[in-house]
Amino acid sequence: MIKLGPASVEMRAMSEDDVFSSRLKLLIIMAKAYLRNCPLGNYRKKAIIENANHVFYHSLQLVSESSILKDNGFEPPADIVSREKTSEEHLFHQRVQLLAVMAKALAEDRLRGHFRKKALTDNLNKICETLIFKFQIRDVNFLKVA
């Protein structure tokens, strides 16, 4: 029997945040695989669209929860979260939502042209800078077959 996943001491139920961060990572891999010309079959396209929808709405929910708190006077104390950090988080979520829209477009064959691909690459790079997320295509060579 093989064992996968975290060590016993780190095992726990998956929270909504766990699922969101895992789905975001998957979306990044999906977009990078596309840019490296991994083939897209019908079910892969369906999976990309489903994943992009989840990430988009969860990110939107996180942003709106934060602004509802602010609108109701629940501004986080300055010593806990600076305004600058809040602004960075807002920008990060805008980039994540943009990535979701781009991913849907690529799954629907609407992401064509050099500059659209460049915009996707730039957006991915910015998101990965924030996440400190490293990914190499050789990690998922099996995706080269659809």
Partner: protein, 127 residues
């Protein structure tokens, strides 16, 4: 390990947590480019398996209603001894019972994208 390559692989995911089940199904659907079956309880999964061609791989949470993961695996392995069964849990105490009961893999929660890629690399596509 021998090379593995299951064409048109059929995978079923069983978990009563909708968010987790959908996430796992999305990752696997993307990897194998095939539809992935999903069930929210062990009994519904077993009814499907009993009436249809067995999936090549089932990935089931241990603590699910209806039939739990161990019960479902016992029935599944009795019908299809060559097919693979992966048990998932957030409880470390389930690891040894999973080994003793003949599970092909134990998937500890929280499950990551990389863990699911390894499932595909190990059980579906391997050179």
């Amino acid at each position: 390990m021998n090379p593995v390559n299951i064409p048109n692989v059929k995978i079923a995911v069983i978990d009563n947590d909708l968010l987790v089940r959908d996430f796992i199904a999305t990752v696997l659907m993307y990897c194998v480019n095939r539809d992935v079956l999903s069930f929210d309880n062990g009994l519904a999964a077993w009814k499907y398996i009993e009436d249809n061609e067995s999936p090549d791989i089932i990935i089931t949470e241990i603590d699910v209603p209806g039939l739990n993961g161990f019960e479902l695996m016992a029935k599944f392995k009795e019908k299809s001894p060559d097919k693979k069964c992966l048990l998932m849990s957030d409880n470390p105490a389930n690891k040894q019972p999973a080994r003793n009961s003949g599970a092909d893999a134990f998937l500890a929660k929280p499950v990551s994208v990389n863990d699911l890629f390894r499932v595909v690399q190990t059980f579906v596509v391997r050179d």
